[in-house]
Symmetry: C2
Subunit: 234 residues, 2 copies
């Protein structure tokens, strides 16, 4: 069964959230006199992400888009740091930092090649507006923006994968899930997707740069999107 569509995790796989969020937070909060450990600020914000989605996945709260979860988590974070003088507009602007994440160096070349042969779809937990604005700024050439907001389900819930394949009118085995996170790939494989692991050793910062490659037998395991393009003859 040939691969028709590549479905991409975005945060960490396509874009470097940690250094970009650190940069954006510093740019907005630094001039206001705050001197924080900016990478740690990014890590903490990201750390609140899974627990917030888990409340949706477990049914504890109805579906809410990631922008809203990010904003709730940002208020927690600002409170932890006793940062109280921000206006609503300033909080919104900081929350939109997630739209200003830079792609890893190999991404634009790799996607441009892969786009010639395959449908390129996001399969991200981010919402549509976040992903569209990120793509416009960074030049990411998606064919279609799919994921949690369209599926009304957060990965790794099965519905996130099932409904994305259905929207593309692809069999799960015609979809290749591309992600830097083994848990995402295992969940996709459980729904019949093929899997491509991309090693992103810098995702969690220098202290984690030597973390090992996973032992899973994914269909592909590559160090970059250009290597994936090589492997897929794109």
């Amino acid at each position: 069964m040939p691969i028709k569509a590549l479905t991409f995790d975005v945060f960490g796989t396509v874009v470097d959230w940690r250094s970009s969020i650190a940069r954006e937070a510093r740019a907005i909060l630094g001039p206001k006199g705050h001197a924080l450990d900016w990478p740690a600020f990014a890590d903490r914000w990201r750390g609140l992400y899974q627990p917030a989605m888990e409340k949706v996945r477990s049914g504890e709260r109805p579906f809410a888009i990631l922008d809203d979860l990010h904003r709730e988590n940002l208020l927690v974070l600002l409170n932890e740091h006793r940062i109280e003088a921000l206006s609503t507009e300033e909080v919104d602007e900081l929350n939109r930092a997630w739209r200003r994440l830079d792609p890893w160096p190999d991404v634009l070349d790799g996607l441009t090649r892969l786009k010639q042969r395959f449908i390129l779809a996001t399969l991200s937990n981010a919402n549509i507006a976040l992903l569209v604005n990120m793509a416009k700024r960074a030049g990411l050439p998606w064919d279609v923006i799919l994921g949690a907001e369209v599926a009304r389900a957060y990965k790794p819930a099965p519905e996130a994968y099932d409904r994305t394949a259905a929207a593309l009118q692809c069999q799960p085995g015609e979809c290749l899930m591309v992600a830097a996170h083994p848990a995402d790939l295992r969940a996709a494989a459980g729904r019949g997707f093929r899997t491509a692991y991309v090693h992103r050793p810098a995702e969690f910062g220098p202290a984690h740069a030597d973390r090992p490659w996973p032992a899973d037998a994914f269909d592909f395991a590559v160090a970059s999107f250009t290597e994936l393009a090589d492997r897929l003859d794109a």
Copy 2:
């Protein structure tokens, strides 16, 4: 309030469905010995489109994607022409003719220019897979595929416009609806969208080529996407 997103009707506005469907039907049915009036075949297929969607809009049936409505209508059409020897695969292949529609000559130049300044979104009654595959074949540079399948509502239902603006996180007045059909534009304006009428005199064939421009006071009224790009300084 500046325009941020252009939302496009697709059938008739972006692509020439009539001559493309006529060509595709002839290519598939002609070799099987059928000699029909192919443009009339296209007109009849298209003519069954609004009544099928009306059953969804009225609540007579639950939401179904346009591919499914098109296929049901195709079976009606084949029955009318007493074409009975097609396999399921051949019917599916003919139904996918809607993915092989050619854009009007000004479209690629116009969209390429407009994409530099604005988010380009579909706001079509077509489903996601149809629009993605059409875009891949024709080179349509959409930033995001929105419309009936994401909104779970067919134009001109208000929800189709409201939910598209919401997905983009745009105010309705930040969205410019681009369409060749006054009824679509009037419905969009009713939800607060700005409006751009594009005159497509060839949409319904030579017999209708001299139909007049509408008298409505739309925000823009242009003869091509390149003229729209001129008007929007794109």
